[in-house]
């Protein structure tokens, strides 16, 4: 029953593959032909000025935003297809938001457990064991029974990461996850993400933390006004940018 024109995806092919992706909100064209390949296990960072379409770009990948033109393949599956099973896609692709967006009426542990129990219908006790392990992994042991409103921003964000990981995603999307945090708590969240990258999880990270991008990224994309201005290994893009726009942006943020 699989569509004939799409050969089965194998891990040596890009796990995420964008081709000439375009998106407009009304008359505002936000993505003007984005093309990128992400290999399995790679960490890529997307940088660029505010309003350049970074959030829109990664929100297209888990179909929170529908694109107008182009193609997005996730593990060989076309996302820009009306027949796409969005829910199946979202089970594979985890997302962490700038504002954490935890479920405020549930404890930290329940937040981590909810989706595997409700969405994947997994056994509650087995999920709880895994959720407790995840709480340790993000170094929040002892905070299991706290409600989001009782946690600091950095702690909430780590719960949000654990909540995504509980679904055992193949790909993680991070949208400026440290932008709303105090400088001291930024480090603990970045440390958590760094660990995931080291574990070999595919991560697409939108960030303003240039030092972090330099350290963890295999590949950096600089976007401005809906286009990818340049991309390459972090030392090329962040230390020796070729494009004037990249230079101007980096001068501003560093």
């Amino acid at each position: 029953m699989a569509p004939a024109e799409q050969p089965a995806w194998t891990p040596d092919q890009p796990i995420v593959r964008l081709r000439d992706v375009r998106k407009s909100f009304g008359s505002l064209e936000v993505l003007k032909g984005i093309t990128m390949d992400v290999a399995k296990g790679e960490a890529i960072c997307i940088i660029g000025p505010s309003g350049s379409g970074k959030s829109t770009l990664i929100r297209c990948i888990n179909a929170l935003v529908a694109i107008d033109e182009g193609s997005i393949l996730v593990e060989g599956q076309e996302v820009n297809d009306p027949k796409l099973d969005k829910l199946a896609l979202r089970r594979k692709v985890g997302m962490v938001f700038q504002q954490y967006n935890l479920f405020p009426h549930k404890t930290a542990l329940q937040n981590v457990m909810m989706a595997p129990v409700h969405v994947l219908k997994q056994d509650r006790r087995e999920v709880e064991d895994r959720a407790r392990a995840l709480m340790r992994k993000v170094r929040l042991e002892g905070k299991e029974d706290a409600y989001p409103g009782e946690l600091s921003g950095g702690q909430q964000q780590r719960v949000a990461i654990a909540r995504s990981l509980a679904m055992r995603p193949d790909i993680m999307l991070f949208d400026e996850v440290t932008a709303a945090l105090d400088p001291e708590t930024v480090k603990e969240v970045l440390q958590t993400i760094r660990q995931l990258v080291e574990d070999g999880l595919t991560c697409l990270i939108v960030t303003h933390e240039m030092g972090f991008a330099r350290e963890v990224a295999d590949h950096v994309y600089f976007t401005d006004r809906g286009v990818i201005v340049e991309h390459g290994p972090p030392r090329d893009i962040l230390s020796n940018p070729r494009e004037e726009r990249t230079k101007a942006f980096l001068e501003q943020v560093l």
Binding site: N62, L64, L87, A88, R90, R91, G94, M95, F97, Q99, N101, L102, F103, P104, H105, M114, A115, H118, V119, L120, A146, Y147, P148, G149, E150, L151, A160, R163, S164, M167
Partner: protein, 248 residues
């Protein structure tokens, strides 16, 4: 109990205040029946109106314009017409259209009794308000929270059930509280189609015992008590739903 009955009999003889329902076994049984009928009307209508509210608010978020239009029409009709007219409409208007059966004396036996019509009518009346109340609660749930559920692969129903509704409920409990208190008091309208609830029974009793003031006093106390119990339960619920570190 005999002490109570004796005291009320003495009260009548000494002062003329005639609370027949506390010493006359027949009146007592009648009023107990009326009280239980009011409780029954209230409890069933409250539960049904909550179901209607939750269902209606869910349907209002439908992608189909027709469905949204039907829910909107339902709300307009039941919110903008007097509940007494609604009860008459159902009982005399619709009730007589429905097929009936003949009972053993050859009399027409309607498909639904007046009690059932009262419950249907009251539930729809309060349910229409509940839809609006739940919708205002749903609108207060941040879009970003809903998005987080969607990103985790929740279906629309799953998001509604596990995220939107629990949060919306907390926002709209005070308004819900008001509407349910109103519903409990509105059950007296069933009087108009001869449902033997408290007001109806009280009227029958004062018709034969000429104790209008006493029956009225009793009704006031009984409703204060019933509403008090409802408010107590709602407040307990509100407290149980309070989230540490969230909101207010």
């Amino acid at each position: 109990m005999a002490v109570v009955a004796d005291w009320f009999r003495w009260l009548y003889e000494a002062t003329g205040f005639n609370f027949t329902i506390f010493y006359d076994p027949y009146d007592a049984r009648q009023m107990l029946g009326g009280f239980l009928m009011t409780v029954q009307l209230s409890v069933i209508s409250i539960l049904l109106s909550l179901v209607i509210g939750i269902l209606g608010a869910w349907l209002q978020g439908s992608n189909l314009r027709l469905v949204r239009g039907l829910v909107g029409g339902f709300i307009t009709v039941f919110r903008n017409t007097p509940p007494l007219v609604q009860i008459f409409f159902f009982y005399f208007g619709i009730g007589t259209l429905l097929p009936g059966t003949e009972n053993q004396w050859g009399m027409r036996q309607p498909m639904l009794s007046n009690v059932q019509w009262a419950i249907i009518s009251l539930s729809l009346f309060a349910g229409a308000f509940n839809v609006e109340i739940f919708r205002s609660g749903i609108e207060a749930v941040p879009r970003t929270t809903v998005e987080a559920a969607e990103a985790l692969g929740y279906t629309r129903l799953g998001t509604y059930r596990h995220v939107v509704l629990p949060l919306a409920l907390r926002v709209c409990l005070p308004a819900l509280n008001n509407n349910l208190v109103n519903l409990l008091k509105t059950t007296t309208l069933a009087y108009a189609i001869a449902v033997p609830e408290m007001l109806y029974v009280a009227k029958q009793i004062w018709g034969s015992s000429q104790n209008v003031l006493e029956m009225m006093l009793f009704l006031l106390f009984a409703y204060v008590g019933l509403v008090g119990i409802l408010v107590f339960i709602m407040h307990r619920w509100e407290r149980a739903m309070r989230i540490p570190g969230y909101g207010r």
